[in-house]
Point group: C2
Chain length 156, copies 2
């Protein structure tokens, strides 16, 4: 039992601190490997999880990316996701939950004047026991929706 | 000296954990008082600050609001702000820094299908030594840009 209100219990499989490795790729960049730590945590009585994420370059441990946001339960099998990135990008997503798969499709991605042009993305998280795998595909800099990140994390 | 790279040193006055009280008001709601904790922190070598915030109802201590995001230095006297809220709202802001005043005006506020309709906001933070005061004005639910929150926090 978590601190989630009963009507948001479908978020429970995400709760925890997850660590592992990922791989990044995109038509416009050099492929790279990263270490990642993700956390989904509760605030008592609130129908959402607090999401934080940070990655480090696998070879050197140098800080790479970070982002933060919230996963909100909005109905049976239905979720929303908000994300802010320090690179001037924010995202809102609508999502579904089915058989441990949280599948988010961006409703809108909005960027500041100095940010890289990103116009859409999908984030698919699959929970299987204490394993979280995800695939992030991105529509950016003139490229169609293309796989950008994949990672496998373990609940610690 | 902080972990900020030299070209982002203008963000330094924000760094710290800030605690205090605030007051909320809007034409469509009952006025309310809150306790608040705000943090702006660095990640070594990165040109931005990590922003987190949480409030509690002043009378009961019950969790009220929380949000997270990033303040990024983009040039002398120029900053950008990204914010995600668990209520299905994300914001991108352009801002200026002058005499300890960080003045942000939203470029875009975007909301999920189930969120309250917010179309714009301004966030003005004034740092004077170890005191942070802010005013947040919001354009929402058909109301024009109207003062919504004011608070006075102290660096701890």
């Amino acid at each position: 039992m978590s601190d989630l209100p009963p009507e948001s219990a479908q978020l429970e499989p995400l709760i925890g601190t997850w660590k592992g490795r990922g791989h990044g790729d995109y038509p416009t960049i050099e492929p790279f490997d990263y270490l990642e730590e993700v956390s989904f945590s509760t605030i008592p009585t609130k129908p959402f999880l607090v999401y934080t994420q940070k990655t480090q370059r696998a070879e050197t441990g140098a800080p790479l990316h970070t982002e933060a946001g919230y996963v909100r339960s909005v109905g049976p099998g239905r979720v929303e996701l908000t994300i802010a990135q320090p690179t001037g990008i924010v995202e809102i997503h609508s999502g579904t939950i089915e058989d441990g798969v949280f599948a988010f499709v961006s409703d809108r991605v909005v960027t500041t004047p100095t940010a890289v042009d990103v116009s859409g993305c999908t984030r698919t998280l699959t929970i299987s026991g204490d394993e979280l795998t995800y695939v992030l595909a991105m529509e950016a800099v003139g490229e169609p929706l293309t796989k950008h990140l994949t990672a496998r994390l373990v609940r610690s």
